[in-house]
Amino acid sequence: MTPALDILFVTDPRFEGGVSTALGVEIREAARLGLRTGLIIVRGPLIRRTLATHPDIAAALDQGLVARVDPQEAVTAALVLIHHPTILSNPFVPRPRVTAGRVVVVLHHPVRDASGRRQYDLAAVVKNGRMAFGRPVELAPISAVVRQGLPGLAIDGGTVLPADWDNLLDLDRWPRRPMRAPEAGAAAVVIGRHARPDPKKWPDSLEEARAAYPTPPGWRVRVLGAGDFLDALYPERPAEWDLIPFNAMPVQDFLSGLDVWVYFHGSAWLEAFGRTALEAMATGVPVILAPHFRPLFGDAALYCEPGEVEATVRSLMETPSAWGERSDAGRTFVMERFGAGRFQARVAPLIAAGRVIIEETRPKGSEVAPPSPTGSALASAAVRPTPAARPVLFLSSNGIGMGHLVQQLAIADRLPSTAKPVFATMSYAASVVREAGYATEFLPHHRNGGLDAAAWNDHFAEVLLDLLIRLRPPVVLYDSTAAFSGVMRALEVYRDAFTVWVRRPLWQEMHRRFLDAFWRFDAVIEPGELAASFDHGPTVEQRRDVLVTPPVLHLSPADRLPRPVARQLLDLPEDATVVAMQLGGGNNFPLAALQSVLVEAVLERPETLLLEIRSPVRVGPDEPPPTHPRHRVIRLFPAFRYSTAFDAAITAAGYNAFHEAILGGIPSLFVPNEAAEMDLQVNRALWADLSGCGLICRRDLHGPSARERVARLLDAAERARMVEACAFHGSVRNGADDIVRLVTDSLHLVRSDRDPAIRI
């Protein structure tokens, strides 16, 4: 039986501003009404940066308010509601298996901007909408501004709905700020503005901006939606402007601290709606706008030119009762015109008409689940069987190391049951993921066979492509610094995967050549780096376009064993000072001489026990066992699970070990692997040393002082200070969860970010 939806929402959930916020309101309201709704996630062409799903839409999915719909799953939908026209700039791939009643495209943006430049091809939108859903497309402009730019005649069979599809607000989510004391006057005023970080949304000149956002003594301007672009736009902006990055705080909290909200934008911009102004009104903050907004907001706002803002604000603050009246007017306006309750009246006739169309066109004998009666409990997730798990390919480099593989394990272990991780790795630690229960293919790095790199790349491309076309993963995660041409070619010929490059920061300059691979992946993720301020490498210039997550850990600190249990399992005496040692890197950065010194320095203290943790990857001949009774050797993975048993550590400064040590509060002496092809571990170790979280010991510079450094590590007071410094960086979030979210949202993706036609 084909599942039947009342509304199928279709959107690119990466839209940062009003599109996603408005959709979030519609989803919540539909859930409140008991409608069965689904969501198809589209990757549209407008956003090239790697962005996470908007938090409002992510929350709606997580709370089960709307069901994720796989485009290859057959459903019927009385109403298909497509949010934002640009996602129909190209045909949908794959074509959704949706039997649609009515198909409405919500036009969140004018067809042309203020300078007349076309923002999207309306005819293509109509054509591609029909191609995807097999029904005539109806256009729903969100305001008179957008409607004004539409052609008067039908476009390729597309018609325009008679009423505007106003953005709606759920007043319950916008608590009113306290009334301003009438006697407060204009001595101290906070002016606010909130907009996406886009230079076009700011006045053209600094002079105009200063006028629109004045700062006489006692006044401040607070901006939510600041960014680096402001440095270029207004290099000498006033010190009284407090700049807050977009989405850095809840909008409600931001608005509650304002006295007045002011918005002016550049001459080339045409604001389709102005949702942020409505949010200010909903909170009871008086709003001052440019006069051209009057058709949208009528008497609910005040209007003036930029040069008149200061006088307008003074009048508002100094005239008894004026502030309260404007506050009331704004909130009442939102309630009456834009309340979420209007959604039902808007969609009910469309859904009813859509159901009739589906019924009339339904082939005889086909079965459709009955639609939900209005007011029934929401059961979006329950109306459909769980879709079959789809493979996600984790592809990684590494030879002797296992850092990339362990980072991928952090993601794979957290994926939902709708995804089935499969590994293809160059790491000799492949057994680690195989033992974790995952299908694991090993593809040797060209170093292994001593093969010419070009020939190896050709071979690798062929094998990987064969794996891809058999496995058919919708998502491929590639974890490596080197973007091998063999990998890139296979992914580009396959085409059907959403490709994600997970690359750690702290590149050496010699890796710059791989920077251009950024453009060949669909998404680029940088796991958070505690030592980011010490990163001056090539990737820094791309940082604003990648998704930077919190640090990614295989195990979160809270997942570790309690100390007594860990000590018992490792057979460690309670009274010993246990120092874990895990240096790794023996092959490309020999450390034997330094290691001997460090081992001696630890063991010369009678209370110590040295636990040398060897990698599960044995690449060399067996080493003889240690002779000292307090020196033990153990193979342990994941060692971090047992790390509560350690009093201190002497460790390499690779990404995983470093972040586990700091976030796990383990006092550590970091010995960076400074081989040419590695990431700049030395900067991690340096950062730890200078921030008090640990100590550094460089092989070639600190050998003579190594004993002294170990002595500091073994000093209880020093260790306590390190633990305290580490605690400052403690994070409740594991970045692996952010990557899982992106992978999960990409598993059932429709793509319209490129023309699907093959070019030869």
């Binding site: 001593g450 790199a453 020939a455 064969d466 076309i469 041409s485 044995r618």
Partner: protein, 152 residues
């Protein structure tokens, strides 16, 4: 598959002609070393489904016999790479049959490995192939039989 290779070959041509699709270098400079033994004929030694405890003895025997005259490449079906890495041997890997069965719902592993074998022969162009335990054909047949038996 042939059409697929043709497509890839055209990509190779694009690379050699300096086309934009291949602006990335193939590897890091440190990775660019060509095998010092490139001129020696390649002996491909399959050790599929051989018990790991037997690996060191076989390795030592093969290396003593052919190490000086051949470049040795070992095809194994275990991820216990230690003995091979300790001897700095080149390795190629086939997923063991029990793992293929365990993950049979993902794809047809025997078919994939048959293709991989063809590609490995192109990669190494071995002068000879010798087998300890199952040879490749027997391994693939056993994998196909196990797959057929395991399918519902």
């Amino acid at each position: 598959m042939r059409a697929l290779f043709d497509r890839l070959l055209s990509l190779r041509s694009a690379r050699s002609s300096g086309a934009a699709a291949e602006t990335l270098p193939p590897a890091l400079p440190a990775d660019d070393a060509t095998a010092a033994t490139a001129e020696r004929p390649v002996l491909l030694v399959s050790m599929l489904e051989v018990q790991p405890e037997e690996h060191p003895e076989i390795l030592d025997k093969v290396m003593a016999t052919f190490g000086a005259s051949h470049k040795l490449v070992f095809l194994i079906s275990t991820d216990a790479f230690g003995p091979f890495l300790a001897r700095q041997s080149a390795i190629e890997y086939f997923m063991p049959i029990d793992q293929q069965i365990l993950h049979r719902d993902l794809m047809d592993w025997p078919d994939y490995l048959a293709e991989k074998w063809a590609l490995l022969l192109l990669k190494w162009r071995p002068a000879s192939v010798i087998a300890y335990g199952m040879n490749v054909d027997r391994f693939l047949n056993a994998a196909r039989a196990a797959r057929a038996a395991g399918l519902p």
